[in-house]
Amino acid sequence: MTTTAAVRLENVSVRYRIPRERIASLKEYAIRRLKRRLMFDEFEALRDFGLEVQAGETVGVIGRNGAGKSTLFRLIARVLPPSAGRVVVAGRIAPLLELGLGLHGELTGRENVMLQGALLGFSRGEMRRRMSRIVEWAELEEFIDAPIRTYSSGMAARLAFAVASDVDPDILLVDEALSVGDERFQIKCHDRMEAFRQAGKTVLLVSHALDQVRDNCRRAIWVHEGRLVRDGDSASVAQAYHDWSVGGAALPPVIIGRR
């Protein structure tokens, strides 16, 4: 088995079953069932998708809204099992998909750090050890014992990024997380991403900001209607995407993964 790939997707499909009419209640379900009127539409969020990312690569993921980028990340983050195909991920993952997920306004910064750490699978002892470094990095020493409902959105984002990136992941999934906070914080995030790359970590970055993809990633993939349509160096993929989305250039043929 090749273990050098950090992320490998083999012919992966994700199919959601969407009821024609939303049936949320048991009563309705029972009635429809009896009348045999349960209709579903199938929606394929990803189709026959192949991708291999080597450990240490930084890959940008671009595509329109609804193209399947989030589904791709959810597969890699292990929150969604594939409907068909195989997903193999080697290494600890830190998803920066939704910064601030699970943050609770009534709890203090410190309590939230403990909770965030636990969501990432860390023990209390481990989080206590990491606490001072996280707080220092987020520059929130003065506010750490205040409830975070008193924080600005930038402060909350700083705290969340500090936790998620301190947990020493092998694979970092970033979903436009770098667009929050002030300029100084963005530079810090950028530096930390750079440090990740130098430490040989794998980074996947979803962004609509093509500049960000070009600056941060050597390689980029373009996802369109659940398929991988381009895979190559970030400058040319970003250019092709730009030409297509702005200039109306023809879509390149589908690439079914790299073997």
């Binding site: 048991l26 597969l75 997920l101 609770h104 636990a118 209390r124 301190d166 530096d191």
Partner: protein, 282 residues
């Protein structure tokens, strides 16, 4: 260590392979164990958040059953003229045990949405949310023993050595409630009206269980209904050691334990087989 706080680490990488899967029932148990600190954090969060902006704070947990008890004592001992020796103790032993069951199960049924918000974005075994509901219930159960002891002292009721049996009763109710919670959570994540239906059901169930009244007032031809009610057995394993000062009969203990283990295993297996598809619901 570099100034940015990123360290290189040389260790065996954890590998996730969607094609390699063992038994779901065992995998989920392992995952729950490795996320035990999350369960702890969720319990702490729940309790802290509930009392964060209140003056009396955690005292509410102890006050609520006490106020309940006073109201029901007035109603049931003066108006209905039941002849139950030391009614406050009789009622409270049933009520706090019932409260554990009803709180744990309704909270599991209510948190399918919140837990889905988390579990569809970051990998956590979904059973942590049910374990957290049980954990919160246990904290409340232990806290409500404080006012119970208060009532015992005030009314001069003896504290029997049979209290030592209570851990067995608590383990039994934890298994039973967890099983029901797992089933409810699984149903409720498919159908949103399960929660409302359950809240009505649990209210009715409360009055069908001898908590506020004595089983002796049930007419003989309806007595069999008591024996069909699992909560009747379970409450006896709690009430007998405290109120009657006797250890429940081995038959009663064995029956309630076997029933609880059965419900728990059913809930666990069903939940584990449905947990994966919960990710497909948004």
């Amino acid at each position: 260590m570099s100034s940015t706080g990123v360290t290189a680490r040389a260790s065996v990488l954890p590998v996730y392979d969607s094609a390699r899967r063992g038994s779901r029932v065992i995998d989920e148990a392992r995952a729950l164990w490795s996320y035990r600190s999350l369960v702890q954090e969720l319990v702490v969060r729940d309790i802290k958040v509930r009392y964060k902006r209140s003056v009396l704070g955690i005292v509410w947990t102890m006050l609520a059953p006490l106020l309940n008890m006073i109201a029901l004592t007035l109603v049931f001992s003066t108006i209905l003229k039941q002849e139950i020796r030391n009614y406050p103790v009789y009622f409270m032993t049933g009520a706090i045990f019932w409260a554990f069951f009803s709180q744990t199960t309704s909270s599991a049924a209510s948190q399918t949405n919140d837990s889905n918000e988390i579990a569809k974005r970051i990998y956590v075994p979904r059973s942590v949310f049910i374990a957290a509901s049980v954990g919160v219930g246990l904290v409340n159960l232990v806290l409500s023993i404080v006012p119970l002891v208060g009532i015992l002292v005030v009314t001069g009721f003896p504290i029997h050595p049979t209290w030592l049996f209570l851990p067995v009763s608590i383990v039994t109710i934890v298994l039973f409630s967890s099983g029901v919670a797992l089933l409810l959570f699984t149903f409720a994540s498919r159908f949103s009206d399960i929660r409302e239906m359950y809240l009505v059901l649990v209210q009715t169930w409360f009055f069908l269980t001898p908590i506020v009244y004595h089983p002796a007032i049930v007419p003989p031809r309806f007595r069999f209904a008591l024996w069909l009610n699992p909560m009747y057995y379970l409450i006896q394993t709690f009430r007998k050691p405290i109120y009657d000062g006797v250890i429940p009969s081995s038959g009663l203990v064995a029956a309630s334990f076997a029933l609880s283990v059965g419900v728990f295993l059913t809930g666990w297996v069903y939940f584990c087989h449905r947990a994966e598809e919960m990710g497909y619901r948004s």
